[in-house]
Subunit: 243 residues, 2 copies
DNA sequence: CGAGGGTTTGAATTAGATCAACTCTCGTGG
DNA sequence: CCACGAGAGTTGATCTAATTCAAACCCTCG
């Protein structure tokens, strides 16, 4: 992990600047903190960059840092000793990571697209939480949201067919994108590989590929490139996703 | 849901008694609150009892209550329109429920054994959280713990074989029981039906039954009754569970 | 132009599901 | 006291969705 920026001197007039102008602030738990207090946050943050393929959280390592993604995207996963892998989620800008209770991380995290992140030491993070109750509240909300998503994913992994899993995946990708996908013809970017999608959906790459091909042949989607999918019929896809 | 006890008058000397003497306090988030403040908590709680088979949280219903289980056990699940079910967890004494961010519950909850629970209205709960930061911290810890468990379950559902799933299930059941299972010959009680186990592990009842039978024939477990299992070889079971 | 990774497609295989008896337990009532 | 019946659990036979094995295919990049 390459640190490309040292934290500015605490209390200096410029200290709050990096957080004030941070493009991820609106999407982050950080926006629970007033402009005036941002200096405290900036003083504690160490900004780093991670290149695609690089791991920045290793399952089993001492969990002494918290992370906030400010750019790029990453995958979170658990490994079995024989190499089987389950990706538990894809995360992007604004995502907060590392809320471990145990002394070690329960999952690994690897960058998919170039990632920029703010790292906070465990003790400093807890100090911040004590200082800013609104921040803690925000974290609790985030945790609750993720728990709901996790339960949805359990339903997918435990009870849905391959077809329903792939449809659910595409459905979720094109839905929450608050972007300009005005229900017209949403085009979703897939920064992750087929292998990642398979390990996220509990399938093999072959099944993912076959299922996508079939959805295409049925006119539900178009696949301009392996990393781009155009949803032609969002409604039918959503219906498929829920069984 | 049958309310069997009204909350005592706030501020009365007796108000804090129900919480002080509560057997679940040590296992609950409530123990973040000092004895002296327990009255505030008791004033807000409505105690209820739920019989086995009864549902006390319905997926999709307005999420205007939080719950704390003080006795019994329950299953949490999500349903698909065609009846497919995924049980996302079994919960017992001390478990806190209903941490929904959205306006509606994301899952249903049904009692397995007779359940006693404390219900808090949403607004009152948030008032309490503002009043007692330690309580909020405890909730955050709980949420983080559940998130870790959820990720483990995703690995199970997405990547483990039937054999590994059943072994994992038994392994977890006999492990955290801080009870007197001094690694000798842990006997685990299964209050839930085979159907519940199947829907928790993403299998069918037949596969669960077959797998248990096979584990028995291999001498790993004994099945004195359908609701009791004796783990003969915890180490080998644990090894099986992780692949 | 050719090599190598990622992806797609095809054929064979299999773990677990489905369909179908059968058994066990337990509560009810003659 | 025992026959009966219902529901849960087990066991067996068959089937199938998804995996595995195998072979193209198609980019991108040196």
């Amino acid at each position: 992990m390459a640190v490309f920026s040292r934290p500015p001197t605490p209390g200096s007039p410029l200290a709050q600047e990096p957080c004030l102008s941070c493009g991820a602030r609106a999407d982050s738990v950080c926006n629970a903190i007033e402009d005036a207090d941002l200096g405290r946050l900036a003083a504690f943050a160490v900004v780093s960059e991670v290149q695609p393929g690089q791991t920045f959280i290793e399952e089993g390592d001492p969990a002494d840092s918290f992370f906030n993604l400010t750019a790029g995207s990453a995958k979170l996963y658990k490994l079995m000793t024989d190499g089987r892998r389950q990706i538990t989620g894809f995360v992007g800008r604004g995502h907060f990571l590392g809320l471990a209770v145990s002394a070690t991380y329960a999952f690994s995290a690897e960058a998919i697209e170039p990632v920029r992140l703010c790292r906070f030491s465990r003790v400093r993070m807890f100090r911040l939480l004590g200082e800013f109750p609104a921040l803690e509240r925000r974290l609790l909300e985030r945790a609750a949201t993720e728990l709901v998503a996790a339960q949805e994913q359990m339903l997918l992994l435990g009870r849905k067919t391959a077809r329903e899993r792939v449809a659910s995946f595409l459905d979720v990708l094109c839905r929450p994108g608050a972007g300009p996908c005005g229900r017209a013809a949403p085009v979703v970017a897939l920064p992750m590989s087929r292998s990642d999608i398979a390990d996220y959906l509990g399938l093999t790459i072959e099944t993912v590929s076959r299922t996508l091909s079939r959805l295409r042949s049925e006119g539900l989607i178009e696949i301009p490139s392996p990393t781009t999918i155009r949803i032609c019929d969002p409604a039918r896809l959503a219906a498929l996703a829920s069984g």
